[in-house]
């Protein structure tokens, strides 16, 4: 395995935008000069059912086309999944788990059964509610992920996301602004142990 390659697994529920987040994240990472992959796990798709999506980010071309089994980063859009899905599956001792929650890293670490140093928390749902006006935690979690990974340029990510959303929401500029400030807030507010 190429050492520099970052592998990410997104956990969400059908409709929460895990796939969209993975795609947006990949595009943003590409805009900062990285090779990328983004792919969802395809199964029966139902609103509310647990879903996963994946990213690979690397400075070198990515040729591997197997599943992501040992992610360096896990992003959990919906904290209720912790009770039903083995979200830490394949995560090593230096892997990070980023959770959308109002609880502390201590409490989440206990729930997950991993060390507190591996847990990052951010209240993405609240941020989304306050910036976008709806509980769509996927875009703020993108900001939190950029912060936790550390070597990605948040300015470049915001710029690229803005251009992508500008195409999609040309007639709703307030949606674009809300999403961008949600990313920025989660970037600032995520608690990295």
């Amino acid at each position: 395995m190429v050492a520099k390659m970052i592998e990410i697994r997104w956990h969400g529920r059908g409709g929460q935008g895990a796939k969209t987040a993975a795609l947006l994240f990949a595009q943003a990472a590409m805009a900062t000069g990285k090779y990328i992959q983004a792919f969802p796990e395809y199964g029966p798709e139902r609103m509310g059912a647990p879903v996963q999506a994946f990213n690979r980010i690397s400075d070198d071309p990515i040729t591997i086309h197997s599943g992501v089994t040992n992610p360096g980063y896990v992003v959990i859009l919906d904290p209720t999944l912790i009770e039903t899905v083995n979200v830490t599956d394949g995560v090593s001792k230096d892997g990070k788990v980023i959770v959308n929650t109002s609880f502390s890293a201590d409490e989440i670490a206990k729930q997950l059964g991993i060390d507190k140093s591996q847990v990052c928390v951010v209240n993405a749902s609240q941020i989304a509610q306050e910036t976008i006006g709806r509980n769509i935690p996927n875009t703020p979690m993108l900001g939190a992920l950029v912060k936790v990974i550390g070597n990605l340029d948040i300015g470049g990510v915001l710029e690229d996301t803005k251009s992508k959303l500008s195409v999609k929401f040309a007639k709703k500029p307030e949606v674009i602004e809300g999403n961008l400030s949600s990313i920025k807030r989660a970037y600032d507010e995520v608690k990295v142990s």
Binding site: M1, Q27, M30, I36, F39, T63, H65, G67
Partner: protein, 400 residues
């Protein structure tokens, strides 16, 4: 840092389906007739949006089945139009009758095919059973490792098909490539259009000044000669495929061959494989090379026509190789690619290398670097004489 190869190329994050649709938009065929099927649906869905938005002047025919999709596409080609379609799995099965007719009538239909398992049981995921089942229909078959290759192969396919007068299909592995977003270099519309050129059929049905008969009955008198011509056209298409690839490299800078040799020239052990798994195998090869193991890879791009003579030459000095098939012929013996490779070696008088045949990844079953490394480990043991090559068809990652 990501970079382009072609001076006017532009990088984009796209899935396999998106780039196949993008190639179709740039090619702008006269007619596209299609019926949706997972995981190929997006290709014609995105293309139909291009039609609706007026971005292409293509006549889009929303047909009621894949049988009709192929019928309408080949009929349009017979009439003198450039025509394309897209499908997968059961859709290709349903086209089966018309696939043979497109080839028999020597019509250069181009098909964007997404490899998916065959029912039953129902499964939407990637394996190559569908196109392997169609390997004897007289279609040129070109497989893609990733989205970039899918895009480049689509652009080349049009010229190959029209020069060879043979229908041509381009594949990606279902979901693994069709739905995976990757970095792809796209070329400007005008450059693609210039490369593809205008379709100028020699003979066509709507050429009223030079009437032609298509689809006549031929019994003991002429049928055999026409089928020989079809087989000969497939043999002759090798030269065309090479020439188009050379021109493609000259124009856009990316080199394509019948197959890719990855660290094969000095290799003692090798895997022969088709499609996205080749990319995963490259990771295994790199890791083994770091440990001093002389591992290599032969990735088939053009499966029909089969580049038998070249493969025999390149595998002759390998001590042990494994052929990995993502389709099982259920033949009682071996799987399709292995059968072709071994026949190629025997015909060329090559009998030194030991060989094993594995079937893997049916219905999208995971194939990881670890699985492939295990195959290389087995090959190392066979090469050093510590183990015998299995004489049976073997299976990877299946519960028996």
């Amino acid at each position: 840092m990501i970079k382009t190869i072609y001076s006017k190329g532009k990088l984009a994050a796209k899935t396999g389906n998106e780039v196949m649709a993008e190639a179709m938009r740039q090619i702008e065929p006269d007619v596209v007739a299609a019926y949706p099927i997972t995981p190929a649906t997006e290709i014609v869905q995105i293309f139909s949006q291009f039609v609706a938005d007026g971005k292409v002047k293509t006549e889009f025919v929303a047909v009621e089945s894949e049988h009709s999709a192929m019928s309408a596409t080949l009929a349009a080609t017979a009439a003198g139009a450039r025509a394309m379609t897209g499908t997968s799995s059961q859709g290709l099965c349903y086209m089966w009758e018309m696939l043979n007719i497109a080839a028999g009538l020597r019509l250069p239909v181009v098909l964007a095919e997404v490899n998916r398992a065959i029912s039953a049981p129902i499964n939407i995921h990637g394996d190559q059973s569908d196109t392997m089942g169609a390997r004897d229909t007289g279609w040129i078959q070109i497989y893609s490792e990733n989205s970039q290759e899918a895009y480049d192969n689509m652009i080349q396919a049009v010229r190959i098909a029209e020069a060879a007068k043979l229908p041509t299909l381009i594949t990606t592995d279902g979901f693994i490539i069709s739905h995976c977003m990757e970095v792809v270099e796209l070329y400007p519309d005008e450059d693609v259009k210039k490369f593809v050129g205008q379709y100028k059929p020699d003979r066509y049905l709507l050429d009223v000044d030079r009437p032609v008969t298509l689809g006549s009955i031929e019994l003991q008198d002429f049928y055999f000669e026409h089928r020989w011509q079809l087989a000969q056209a497939m043999r002759d298409s090798k030269k065309i495929i090479s020439e188009v690839a050379e021109d493609f490299e000259k124009t856009f800078g990316r080199k394509y061959d019948f197959y890719e040799k990855y660290k094969l020239d000095d290799a003692e052990i090798a895997i022969v494989v088709i499609g996205s798994t080749a990319g995963t195998a490259k990771v295994a090869v790199d890791a083994l090379r770091e440990k001093g193991v002389k591992a290599g890879l032969l990735k088939i791009r053009v499966y029909r026509p089969f580049p038998a003579e070249l493969i025999a030459k390149d595998l002759a000095k390998i001590k042990a190789f494994a052929v990995l098939d993502r389709a099982d012929s259920c033949s009682g013996t071996f799987a399709p690619l292995y059968t072709d490779v071994v026949a190629a070696l025997y015909a060329a008088g090559v009998s030194a290398p030991k060989a094993i045949n594995y079937v893997y990844g049916l219905g999208g079953r995971e194939i990881s670097v670890a699985h492939l490394t295990q195959v290389y480990d087995t090959l190392s043991k066979i090469a050093s004489g510590d183990a015998q090559a299995s004489t049976n068809l073997e299976y990877i990652n299946v519960r028996l």
